[in-house]
Subunit: 341 residues, 2 copies
Amino acid sequence: MLTERQRLILNAIVDDYIRSAEPVGSRSISKKSGVGYSPATIRNEMADLEELGFLEQPHTSAGRIPSAKGYRYYVDHLVRIGEVDEEDLRCVRSFFARKMTRMEQIIQHAAMILASLTNYTSIVLGPEVFSNSLKAFQLVPLNDQSAVAIIVTNTGHVENRTISIPPGFDINELEKVVAILNAKLVGVPLHRLQTKLYTEVSEELNRYVSHCEEIIDTLAQALEQRTEHRAFTSGTSNMLTQPEFRDVNKVKSILEWLDETPALVRSFSPKQEGIQVRIGQENADEALQNCSLITATYVVDGTTIGTIGLLGPMRMDYGKAITLMDILSKDLAAVLAKWYN
Amino acid sequence: MLTERQRLILNAIVDDYIRSAEPVGSRSISKKSGVGYSPATIRNEMADLEELGFLEQPHTSAGRIPSAKGYRYYVDHLVRIGEVDEEDLRCVRSFFARKMTRMEQIIQHAAMILASLTNYTSIVLGPEVFSNSLKAFQLVPLNDQSAVAIIVTNTGHVENRTISIPPGFDINELEKVVAILNAKLVGVPLHRLQTKLYTEVSEELNRYVSHCEEIIDTLAQALEQRTEHRAFTSGTSNMLTQPEFRDVNKVKSILEWLDETPALVRSFSPKQEGIQVRIGQENADEALQNCSLITATYVVDGTTIGTIGLLGPMRMDYGKAITLMDILSKDLAAVLAKWYN
DNA sequence: GTTAGCACTCGACGTCGGTGAGTGCTAACC
DNA sequence: GGTTAGCACTCACCGACGTCGAGTGCTAAC
């Protein structure tokens, strides 16, 4: 619905504002190479764009800044994706060339790189293992009264819980328990473990092992405490370098939000595949009204298991951010796929 | 070396300044109950205290604020420890009454409570497992090419690595490998595992299993990547509520420091037992010159395995902070001791 | 449709005097 | 000799005021 010239001007304004963080005037747009119009013409178009809701004016005698709607249009239609800085690319590649032995570590480091290359704040949600299936189960006794229960999932994720052994339970029978549990439960999705424990495993176990009700109860209880999503953030302090957050009160609510894992998880959870950009008020969360959040999902063994996010001011370098996240999430998927096979 | 009256006045000034964050004048001290001197007398003493280096004056016509030396004296000689708010105590107790099944979780939550009760920033260094000994070893194959190696330590800590299985290695022999490793390595401290692998285990393994050099190499390599100290912070945003950090630039370096795990670990590492207070420049780290850091160690099974820290401005409520950390670290030790037995 | 010209707006910045909290010093008091 | 009242002095803070300049909207000419 915008004319070609309006798109050109909107694009120029957003680009300029992303760079400078200061209201853009008609003169500076006019001077740009590629724009062959005088300031007056630009002004007319800017007035129109403001009327249409794409631009805003902080006060009468200032230049224009993009509105949320303006950014949305920019992201949807104007932004150039795919142009990468050579240096950045080399940085990413050399990172993925390194050898790592823990999935969480890989993902965390990827997020750190993202934060340092973009100068925004990155957020990783730990792997969602809820829909994984059980690969192996182990019980390691620590002493007479407690043991460590270990669960390995099909994606190579390891969970552990310390449980207390019911008094009267013969510790030598643990092996039997483990064998039966493994026989019955391998391949079962984690979220069905509890039910299975009580239905199918219970009677089987009763046949061979005494005092087993208590241990089943204990295990079920330990499983109850589903691993809360762990969230890792990096580059939090980058938020403070943004001129729009020079005022402490503006950053405070954002940092509080970053501190608070549940809010973070909630905001991420309607996870759609691929890369998503939420601008300003599109974020449900009060604290993020002045921010933009870009999210990308990552995949192991065919299922989406987690999300990487990048948080910045609304005046974010969307082109660079989206491009980098695209590269990163694809490389990540490739590495994880190859690794897991 | 200070007279009783000087101590009284210094104490009053520090208390006042901790509360108000504003330079303290002679008049307000004089009005305090328990101080029976006129402003003029107080002024004389204040001038002396300043000459001795315990106080500072932001500018001529302002009141006095404590210097780092003043805080140090306050912490060493004046601060009242042990007075707890009933509400806080109830909060701590109710926390420890909850049932938890993961050690890390307990410690993290303890730190979160500390942060929310004090309104400062708390830092937890993940358990130092380097000196733990091996309790059990497991290998869980994920597919033909990779497996998860799991290590359980005597304190119930679980470590895991994904390793790739050398081509040509018979996957059915993994069990044998595990059995031999367990027979040979249980009880060995983690930091000696690598050496032991090559010396004692190697030849034994050679006798029963073919292609075992590669797997030993892989394992040794995985162990090489010693788990970096994980650090968890909570209450980061509390830093922003402190009036001394209303200026973004002042907080920035601190948040950067908090972001950067290695610096954090370094600063914590000369860990002495018990509670320690480092004020301002006593912190080696540049970023913390305007902060105070209180650290407390926690203990499982007789050995110190980690540290909890509390970071605030120099103008910190030392009494409350130290008291709470004392209670918390003791309760924590009690719970962990009972839990592990 | 485009552009030059011009009056107008309004935040940023520097200056300036008034205000008040707090000091140091001196001299009087107990 | 220690304590205190009195007083002149200092200096950050604050609101008022004027200047400056970037940027606008509008009009008229091209």
